[in-house]
Structure formats: C-alpha cells, structure tokens
Symmetry: C2
Subunit: 148 residues, 2 copies
DNA sequence: ACGTTAAATGAGAATATTTATCAACTGAGC
DNA sequence: GCTCAGTTGATAAATATTCTCATTTAACGT
C-alpha cells in the first residue's frame, strides 16, 4: 500500500493523460509503475497482483480498462506469444518494436523499424493499402541462453 | 455434408500429415478446405461453422486441436487483430508474412521478408539472440477502401 | 477385405479470459 | 469546498480455450 512512487515514466503518463482529458488515478499510475519497473512484459494477472501490492484491493476490470486506455495512448503494447498468451509492456510513445525472451519474457526495445524502408509495391499492386504493422522478435536473453 | 473436396491444398496438407505420422482425417482436411477457399482469415467459430457445413456435427475441440497441429506444421498461421481477436489463415509452409484488411479480414501474403536483411547488431549487443519473428501488416483492401 | 492399434474425435464439464452493469467514489477545475 | 464527468470495485455475464474419457476411425500389415 505504498503511496509515493513517481518517476519519469509516471509523469510521462500523467502528461499524456492530462492532454487527453483523462484522469491520473492511483490505479493507472500503479500500472505504469509495475510495468516499467518489472523491465519485462507481464500478463494481466501479474499486473493485477503488482497493483494490489501497491494499492491494496483493486478490481481486475480496472486493470483491463487501464491497459486498453494505455494501449490507445501508446503507453503500453500488447505482445503475443507463441503459446497463445498475451503480455503487456511499457512503451514510450514513439514508434518502437519489441524483442522478447521466450524464456523469461524480458523485453528489449528496438527503435529502428525494419519495414521503414520496405517496399510494399508488390502487394499494393493488388489494391491493398498498408496502414500499420506489428512486429515482434522472439529469442533468448543472455541469462536464459546460458540456463538452457 | 459434402464428401468430395480435394485440391492442391488438401493434398499438400495430406503430405505433411503423413510425413509426421499424423492422420488425414475428414475434419482436418475440411479445415484446410474451409480456410483456403475463404481466401481470408477466419475465427475459430467461423471455421467450426464451415466444417460443420461440410461434415455435419463436429466438435469444437477438434477445431482447436486441428488448428494447433496445423500451426505447428506451418500449414496455418494465427493472426492477431488490434481489437484483440484472433484469426487463422491458410499458409503454405515457406516463410511468409501476412497482410490483413482490418475491414473484411482478407489476407494477402507477402513472401519478401522485411527483416531478412535487418541488422540485429544494435540489440544483440545486449546479449539477446534473435531466433524468430512475427510480422503482420494491417490496412485496407480495395473494396473496403472504397466502401469507407 | 479383415483385424489391430495408436491416433483422433465428440460431448460436455471445467478453466481461463474478457466484457458488461451499475451504484459508489474521486480527480480536476472552478 | 462544490460540482460533475470520469473512474472504480464488485459481481455477473459472456467468450474463449482446455480437459477428460468413452467411442470411433485412419493407417498399416496380413
Ligand atoms: Mn494475440
Ligand atoms: Mn520474416
Ligand atoms: Zn530471458
Ligand atoms: Zn477488406
């Protein structure tokens, strides 16, 4: 039930929330805190647990609602794992992609976008207009590589 | 309750199944048929409906089991949509990525891989070893672009 | 064709995941 | 402090996915 947590990530989130006329609630800031301090991607349940540790009782629906809001704001990204599960990772607004360790699910950002200079001509020829993309790299972090 | 469907995709699947010592059941071949004839990605429910139309009663669990097997075999790919939903698309083994229309969910393949020649040096420096990747492009097909 | 057998299926229960409702609560601006 | 739209927690409801097990069936050898 801490109450004083505040670092750049939290203020960053606050700024965006204010901009959009949304409230900076303790629950929302706690989600940011839990995500960015973990340094890895977390499941909804793990985030819920983390927030409960900080604030005490917290509704699971609030976590889902917060993650949805944050995803729209570009503050968090949803990741998709080969086993079908999902994770969420903190992500500062700009266009970044993620690289996740399939072992421990730590996340590394990579700001260079592989499709930045990709030529869509071959497919756009068929009348398709590309508007967005999702890229996720899988692999092993140093620690998990050793352990294996 | 048709019984005679058979085209290159079905035999392709049969071949892979035999190779792996797995059975070519009517249900499995029906899933291939439904997927590839639709030309777009389908939800589990849609696939289930399509298979039931062909074979009559069919268990939903069988659809899930089949999709899992096929994904492992590289015959189908699971797609992830921005709204959180999932779709499955037929996909002939080779390394292919997909481009989906967020309107009607039609799927276009694009064989050229954007990360083929991408330099992971910047991130591998941190000890991370890239082993796989997932790429999905979003946009609008010609028809959906007009309709909008 | 026939029998054998491991693999696969269908039914339905059991889980897991996600969304919807609504009364009560709270952050932000005045 | 007062107001009010935005937010939350509790809980139910809706979806989505996985499990179990008795029964069926494809593949193979005869
Ligand atoms: Mn997904
Ligand atoms: Mn690729
Ligand atoms: Zn790791
Ligand atoms: Zn379309």
């Amino acid at each position: 039930m801490l109450k004083d947590f505040e670092c750049t990530q939290e203020s960053y989130a606050k700024g965006i929330l204010r901009e959009k006329g949304l409230k900076s609630t303790a629950q929302r800031l706690a989600v940011v805190h839990v995500l960015h301090t973990s340094g890895k991607s977390l499941s909804v349940g793990e985030i819920h647990d983390g927030v409960k540790e900080m604030l005490g009782v917290t509704g699971l629906a609030t976590i889902y609602r917060t993650l949805e809001v944050f995803e729209d704001l570009g503050i968090v990204k949803r990741l998709h794992f080969p086993d079908g599960g999902h994770g969420y990772a903190f992500s500062q607004g700009e266009h970044v992609h993620h690289m996740v360790c399939v072992g421990c699910r730590v996340v590394f950002d990579f700001p260079e976008c592989p499709v930045e200079s990709f030529d869509y001509a071959s497919v756009e020829k068929q009348g398709f207009r590309v508007k967005d993309h999702f890229i996720q790299l899988f692999g092993q972090c140093g620690k998990c590589a050793e352990a294996a």
